[in-house]
């Protein structure tokens, strides 16, 4: 985790360095249990293929959670996320092997808002494809 950043210490346009997060079949099974979303396409390759998917795919919310983690790690413990939204533009395909897939998240300080709030524009890619678009978080900083 980063040190605590402050509203006054943040510049609009600043880049936030990319972080790569792993996603494996085991991770998806854990996420099924923790979230309560047991949609078969997230754990059953046979049914995923039968309904026209290339393989098991990650929950969109798992990908969004990685983007959320990217924001909260950057913003520090005294910050609060007030808004967070994404569009799921492409699937994160997770093969049944030891490596799995990865989700690379990067960001930029889009603008400084009133009330000590800062808008962050996020980018997430997996296997070279953008998996989130219109991804944006607003955080209130100390």
């Amino acid at each position: 985790m980063s040190d605590q950043i402050t509203y006054d210490g943040v510049e609009a346009g600043a880049q936030i360095a990319a972080v790569s997060y792993p996603v494996t079949r085991l991770g998806l099974v854990k996420y099924c249990g923790a979230s309560g979303d047991f949609n078969v396409i997230h754990w059953n390759e046979r049914i995923a293929r039968a309904v026209g998917l290339p393989d098991v795919i990650a929950h969109g919310m798992f990908t969004m959670a990685q983007a959320g983690r990217f924001v909260t790690d950057w913003a520090g413990p005294a910050a609060m996320v007030t808004e967070f939204g994404v569009r799921f533009s492409s699937m994160v395909v997770v093969p049944d092997d030891d490596a799995g897939a990865s989700i690379e998240v990067s960001g930029q300080v889009e603008e400084k808002l009133d009330g000590n709030r800062v808008a962050i524009a996020l980018t997430a890619r997996s296997a070279g494809t953008k998996v989130l678009t219109r991804a944006r978080a607003v955080v209130r900083l100390p």
Partner: protein, 146 residues
């Protein structure tokens, strides 16, 4: 076929959900987030919270308790195996934290065709049983055509 008569329907609020430390820690582990404010009360208090807080996307666990029941309504006619998530947006009044007892109330705000697929949008209000607004979750799911 999706039943368009469900547009605008407000579903009954979900049963009260008790947010607990163990569930928050399980969720944080599942997303691979080692942040101590999700599992260590002292760290959460040092960050200004009364108890451990939940990661921002934990709100989906509660909103799905409501929207899952709504989308499973047999009268709606949704085929869940063909569903993928289109968009998700949260607005937070404050973090969800251990000890909260909350309900989720779902409104099905929109059903529309996009090409051969159908998009459904729900807006879910997460409130404490005392009536405090905690989070609004707006979800769009896509039922792919067979």
């Amino acid at each position: 076929m999706i039943n368009r008569e469900y547009i605008g329907r407000v579903f009954p609020a979900s049963e009260p959900y008790e947010v607990c430390r163990v569930k928050i820690a399980e969720f944080a582990n599942a997303i691979g987030d080692s942040n101590p404010v999700y599992r260590d009360v002292a760290a959460a208090r040092a960050a200004g919270h009364a108890d451990v807080i939940a990661p921002p996307t934990f709100a989906i666990v509660i909103s799905m308790a409501g929207s899952g029941a709504a989308l499973a309504d047999p009268g709606l006619g949704l085929n869940y195996a063909m569903v993928v998530h289109g968009e998700e947006r949260f607005e937070y009044a404050r973090p969800i934290m251990a000890g909260d007892v909350v309900t989720a109330q779902v409104t099905l705000t929109e059903i529309r065709d996009v090409g051969r697929n159908v998009m459904l949008t729900t807006s879910t209000e997460i409130r404490t049983v005392a009536g405090e607004r905690v989070c609004t979750a707006v979800s769009t799911i896509v039922e792919r055509s067979a």
